[in-house]
């Protein structure tokens, strides 16, 4: 079992939809969590990071962490075609970053 699991998709939604992307993790030592967006043939870019259980909002993006169930979510409101990319979750302990395999999202106009 990998330490960070993520549904690889692909996930296709119509423009304007609310998107829910999810990860689960197995190691209780993870201290904080990040979401990265990766466009095709590009390096990942940081979207959001969060240290504790609860929600963190940034514009159309909301990151949610539930440490009791080891569950991480990213919500995208009013999704746009420009949101079409692969979304990677990452869990961190100390200086160690562990990435999920990514979920490929397509937002259709």
């Amino acid at each position: 079992q990998k330490e960070v699991e993520q549904d690889p998709g692909p996930l296709s939604v119509p423009e304007g939809a609310i998107v829910s992307l999810n990860c689960t993790y197995s190691n209780s030592a993870f201290q904080y969590f990040m979401w990265y967006r990766q466009y095709s043939r590009k390096g990942p870019e940081l979207l959001m990071y969060t240290y504790s259980s609860g929600n963190k909002e940034d514009g159309r993006f909301t990151a949610q962490v539930d440490k009791s169930s080891k569950y991480i979510s990213l919500f995208i409101r009013d999704s746009q075609p420009s949101d079409s990319a692969t979304y990677l979750c990452a869990a961190v302990y100390g200086q160690n970053f562990v990435f999920g395999p990514g979920t490929r999202l397509s937002v259709l106009p």
Binding site: Q31, Y36, G43, P44, L88, A90, F97, G100, P101
Partner: protein, 116 residues
């Protein structure tokens, strides 16, 4: 805005040849990471440096891969000899260190390697 620089962006080589990738992290970032990302998968750590010292190279295939960060700034990752299975995106990332916990990690654009 400061960025992680990588070169080359693309590299095509024949198997058994040597290849080298270069990374310049964000200024002031003590920690540097090299990852390999196979298409459809998440990045997998190859080697991690803290300043000029290797912190973790447990997943680096040491028979053919080597990495160095001589002055604790830029870094080079080398593969010799390259094999067909090495075709992937090689990503460099850097982070500052806040106490014992790494701060946010920033990625470069990657080097896409194709071994023929």
């Amino acid at each position: 805005e400061a960025e992680v620089a990588q070169s080359p962006r693309y590299k095509i080589t024949e198997k058994s040849q040597a290849v080298a990738f270069w990374c310049d992290p964000i200024s002031g970032h003590a920690t540097l990471y090299w990852y390999r990302q196979i298409l459809g998968q998440g990045p997998e750590l190859l080697v991690q440096f803290q300043d000029e010292s290797v912190v973790d190279d447990s997943q680096l295939p040491k028979d053919r891969f080597s990495a160095e960060r001589l002055k604790g700034v830029d870094s080079t990752l080398k593969i010799q000899p390259a094999e067909l299975g090495d075709s992937a995106m090689y990503l460099c990332a850097s982070s500052s260190l806040g106490g014992q916990v790494a701060e946010t990690q920033y990625f470069g654009p990657g080097t896409r390697l194709l071994v023929l």
